[in-house]
Amino acid sequence: MSKSAGSYYFKEGLSCLFEMATDNARQLLPGHLQPLEKQPDTSVLSVSVFDFFDGDAGPYQELVLSILVPPLIALGERLPKAALYPFVVATSTELGRSQGIERWKLPHLMRDIDIAFAEGDREMGLRVEDRGVPVLELTTTKHTFDPTELLFHAFMSDSEGNYKANITMKGEGYSEHEFERGALVLFEHEMTAGLNREEVSDCPFREQWMRNGVEIFSPLETLT
């Protein structure tokens, strides 16, 4: 796999989508973004975990909690699969964290986390901890794995402005389904403090699993 700038190579990339209350989603979004509603009053929380083995920030693990938002679609441009606003990110290394903050303006937990993966015949279970304190437990189940390439819009925001990056995800294997077999446990923690945990479903309505892939960031665009 040839390397290029803004590229992060991973062995496992898991992302599950959960229903959450729209009023809670609005609290987590900056003013210029609206939550994408799955159903009335029901928005979408994305829980993503990556096990990076190479790339700009070297090997590290990452947890990303995002709210799904409408993408920016324009004539002649490739349609994205989805758009999201990461409201908190945590990594297992300082390098991963500093690059995420400086280069991609992503809000981070300022400590290293630990992610333990446990793969079974039909699922991947994982547990995220912060210095021994549980953050969340996630189980993603398998469907068929096929090669794929997907485009996402990621929105970021800080005190100086609002930004967007196109993220291309390519994987040798990608599995996606809505069989409602996975599970999520959110623990009381700094990362989940903004979430009304009682209103977040404990079963993902969509499960996505990419293996042996690369996450490629386009240069950050400043939104006017």
């Binding site: 040839s2 994408l36 159903q39 009335p40 009053d41 409408p70 920016l72 090669p147 994987g171 479903s201």
Partner: protein, 450 residues
């Protein structure tokens, strides 16, 4: 992209299927991709959508809304809008004319007589000049049939749910619906401005979770038979939870009235829970083969909603012509219980035949039988194959159903002959076998009646 990834790439930089066959560009997107667009002009989205539609329509979307050339009988002629060809004598499993009443000679005679007496339309809102004797007669007959104090007629099934929910619930109230609730129920929730929540399909523990932390006015929305899966609401458990938390219940029996229950009053009758349900919704477009819908309930409820159901108040009344046809269809339904016997016999036969052939039909217990294809990218291709082989079935794909749960929704009618059912099962299983979908693991037979 490196060589390994390129294995899945087509000339357009997109996907291929497992066999390496490129998928049409259009199949990589669906309606959900065009809901939001950038720019300040609401028409900005039309260009990207049109660009997609030019590929999507010939790639399979043309299979929706193919013009039928006559009555929705068990065999129909359909015009293929892609080729212009008329497909003759297709076996029709797409129409929900469950009892074959839409084209009964007696119904057509009643329709003709009503046209002679009333003309075509009601020419007014039902609350003003759009109520005619035939509407009153149908309301009274339906109230008697449903064993309820009163009935309110609506111009469509959709408008019943929208009008009733928004007419009753207010901002600050809570509405909890099954996640598979029909769009009309969902739109009623939106219009009401009440807080909306959804519970996982038929999972009462999730319903309880949603209800227990809320104090205030609560309404729970369920369907009798779910229109995409053909399974039945777990009504006893739902009623139990709702009673414990003081929630009112609306049941939409669009696909179960005139089919379930000893007298055909629906799933609520089937479970002996008619008095526990507060709002009974039904339609005329399914088993009675007409158009429109109704709410049955207490006289007080009907009195109130007559003034607050805006979808009825601000629509023209049901056409008196259609109303007369529905009235006659109801009369036939009650006079010919053998119609339902024949339907259930056909349902049991078809469920058994399909399951034995290994056709995946999910958990259906009713005349709505999903043929589960799962492969979202191939459903249209399979639909075309079925059309070529003489079967008319509508594909259903994401977002109408979850991802990888694409299916054909098969509607069984009392008027299908055994030979037609057998022929269809044979064609379906052979086409699905070609795609590696059939035979699946045979499942238990679960169809049941009142």
């Amino acid at each position: 992209m490196d060589d390994k990834h390129a294995a899945g790439k087509t000339g357009q930089g997109m996907f291929a299927d497992k066999a390496g066959k490129p998928l049409p560009l259009a199949m990589q997107y669906d309606y959900t991709n065009f809901y939001f667009g950038s720019g300040n002009d609401p028409f900005d989205m039309l260009g990207p959508f049109d660009e997609w539609w030019k590929d999507a329509e010939p790639a399979g979307y043309y299979l929706y809304g193919l013009p039928m050339q006559g009555e929705p009988r068990t065999r129909v002629d359909i015009r293929n809008t892609k080729t212009g060809k008329i497909h003759k004598d297709l076996l029709n499993f797409a129409s929900y004319n469950y009892l074959g009443l839409s084209y009964r000679p007696e119904v057509k005679e009643a329709v003709a007589s009503a046209a002679e007496l009333y003309g075509n339309g009601a020419s007014g809102s039902p609350i003003l000049s759009g109520s005619m004797e035939v509407h009153v007669e149908l309301s009274e007959e339906l109230a008697r049939f449903k064993n309820k104090e009163a009935v309110l007629l609506f111009p469509t099934g959709y408008s019943v749910n929208v009008g009733v929910i928004a007419g009753l619930m207010r901002s600050g109230d809570l509405i909890v619906a099954d996640q598979y609730a029909h769009a009309s129920l969902v739109d009623g929730m939106i219009l009401s401005k009440a807080t909306s929540r959804f519970f996982r399909h038929n999972k009462v523990e999730d319903l309880e979770r949603k209800l227990k932390k809320f104090s205030g006015k609560k309404l729970v929305l369920v369907e009798g038979v779910y229109s995409m899966d053909g399974d039945v609401a777990v009504l006893p458990d739902i009623v139990d939870v709702c009673k414990r938390y003081g929630a009112r219940i609306l049941i939409d029996e669009a696909h179960s009235t005139f089919i379930y229950g000893q007298n055909g009053r629906g799933v609520a009758e089937h479970f002996g829970l008619e008095d526990e349900i507060d709002l009974h919704v039904g339609t005329f477009s399914k088993s009675l083969g007409g158009q429109g819908g109704f709410l049955a309930g207490s006289q007080q409820l009907i009195n109130y909603l007559r003034g607050f159901s805006r979808s009825r108040f601000f629509s023209c009344g049901l056409s008196p012509v259609v109303t007369a046809g529905i009235l006659k269809a109801l009369e036939i339904f009650e006079a010919e219980p053998e119609l339902r016997d024949r339907l259930w016999s056909n349902v049991e036969y078809m469920q058994k035949t399909l399951r034995e052939a290994g056709v995946p039909v999910g958990q259906s217990e009713s005349q709505v039988i999903p043929i589960l294809i799962q492969d979202d990218a191939r459903i249209f291709e399979i639909g075309e194959q079925l059309l070529q082989q003489g079967i008319y079935l509508n594909p259903v794909q994401y977002p109408a159903v979850p991802k990888h749960k694409s299916r054909f929704r098969m509607s069984i009618s009392a008027t299908h002959s055994r030979q037609e059912l057998s022929e269809a099962a044979d064609i379906i299983s052979k086409v699905l076998e070609k795609y590696g979908i059939c035979p699946s693991q045979p499942a238990a037979i679960t169809s049941k009646r009142g």
